[in-house]
Amino acid sequence: MFKIFKAFVKKELYHIIRDKRTLIILFGIPIVQVLLFGYAVSTEFKDASIDVLDYAKDETSIQLIQHIQSSGHFTLNKVLTSEADIESGFKEGNVALVMVIPKDFSSDFYGNNPLTIQLIADGSDPNKANTLVQYTTRLIQSFQKNKLQQIENPFLITVEDRMLYNPQLISAYNFIPGTIAFILLIISAMLTSLAITREKELGTMEILLVSPLPPLLIILGKVTPYALLSFIDAILVLIIGHFVFKVPLLGSLILLLLCCLLYVILALSLGIFISTKAKTQQQAMLASMMGLMLPTMILSGFIFPFSSMPQVLQVIGSIVVPATYFIEILKAVMLRGVGFQSVVIEIAILLGMTIVLLALALKNFKIRLE
């Protein structure tokens, strides 16, 4: 039996090696994607340009503006003179934020009077606007703290925040686990479903079914090479994440790799399942794109936080999408360095999903023979 299996795997490897498209999907896409997500998609920003409408024009207001500039996040574009100028910067597209400092800033500031600074951001890009406002608010708070401590104000509440596990809020810490989950699922599921439907299209599947090969062996023979290669992919992405983007790896490497392996098997089962439903490679491609790629991107909490989704999607995303659990495991093991006990529930759920999917796939595969 093992010899037959070996013959099958060998043939499958020939297919993979000789097909440029498969090779590109297998190794090109993951690397490009990690680099893209790591470098291009970044929630941090530097040198956002800012306009200031300074009604006060006193010493304190100038100090505040300097303080904001010196943070490295903002550069001063223009000092405005009237309210009418506020919009022009946005319209030309060269300003991300406008800060309005009220009259008598200095005296109100030191006189403990109510004081409001207005921040105007471009809401057409809500994520960016939110982040900018948050950054600026924190800068203003720190400015206040610095100045007022010098004159000892006992009533001031100071907030001191510390971002655990990712103190510098580096977005790669979030994107690398997400990208691994995303890539493994897409690659494994799409490639296996393509490989199986291709045999259907060619008519070779018929021959295989007429041969004495048991269906399980056909599936295993087709899937094993992809399992291995996807696993190599996972390691590749981990290496890039760790050495290029400096994502830490605090937990057990073995636990991490075992979880990757489990997730790869889950993805492959999904691929087999798709291929039992799809008759052509095109259908298989579409199904893996629409059915797997979009939910994984959008609903796994990878790009958009769960808390900002409508409840229905939150439920779907957190229960049905396998990537959700896997990302959770990756973050837990890589960033928080926890052990098996802390991720056992996620692992159990992934394992359960794998078993159900495999059973479904096998059942469907057999029905097709009848």
């Binding site: 013959a7 043939k11 021959i207």
Partner: protein, 241 residues
């Protein structure tokens, strides 16, 4: 009358719900015979073949292929038959040799046996020169003969050929039939479907299936007499009407 029997069907039937795809077909095929299995598209040919090669379970009736029951022993049947489909079903991105090795491998042949078979097939088909070329680069006629040879890599008693000459030009078709004769002479049973009526003339015996039933079964010569026709084409047209 003691010729061994290769295929024996007794009222073999396949129903899909209310639809009777194959309606109680009964016939025997002798060992070493070239048996033509004819019928228009949708007459139930494919379903019947699927039952014979162990891909589909019969609803009723009995069938024996190579001495094994189609209902209960499909796995044993699979080991003892060869199958070649219309699409030739070779792997285009594998070389000639790799194709032979793969199919030899999945039938569980030993390494020595595979080596021996590879040389044999390459020499017989005069493919030694292109043995390391990808199959995709071969002319259709070569692919066809290679697929045929590969379907017999495990020396099966019976080969099933499902429209093996589809899309091939007449000269190549004739060549192919010569190979079929050679195979039958060695005592191997050939069960072939075709919709080229001239090919029906080459068969030892021919059955014609209409709407799930076998409407005629005899040698081409007798069939032509029976239906007062000059060619199998005419026989077929008379029956199908």
């Amino acid at each position: 009358m003691n010729t061994p029997i290769a295929i024996e069907l007794d009222k073999l039937t396949k129903r899909f719900g209310d639809f009777i795809a194959v309606d109680a077909i009964t016939f025997k095929v002798k060992k070493g015979e070239i048996f033509g299995f004819l019928g228009a598209n949708g007459a139930g040919k494919t379903t019947a073949i699927k039952m014979l090669i162990g891909l589909s379970k019969p609803t009723e009736g009995m069938g024996k292929v190579a001495g094994f029951n189609v209902d209960t022993e499909p796995e044993k049947i699979k080991k003892n038959i060869g199958y070649m489909s219309q699409k030739f079903s070779l792997y285009d991105d594998l070389t000639v040799v790799e194709n032979i090795q793969f199919y030899g491998g999945i039938y569980g042949l030993s390494r020595e046996k595979i080596k021996e078979k590879t040389t044999e097939i390459l020499e017989e088909l005069e493919l030694t020169e292109v043995s390391k070329s990808l199959v995709i680069s071969l002319p259709l006629g070569w692919k066809q003969r290679l697929a045929f040879a590969i379907s017999m890599v495990h020396d099966p008693e019976i080969v099933f050929l499902d429209e093996p000459t589809g899309g091939v030009d007449p000269r190549v078709r004739r060549q192919f039939w010569e190979t079929i004769y050679q195979v039958a002479e060695k005592g191997r049973t050939v069960f072939v479907t075709t919709h080229y009526m001239d090919e029906a003339e080459y068969c030892d015996r021919v059955s014609i299936m209409v709407a799930g039933k076998i409407e005629a079964l005899d040698t081409p010569h007798n069939l032509k007499q029976q239906f007062e026709a000059t060619s199998m084409d005419e026989v077929f047209l008379k029956l199908a009407r």
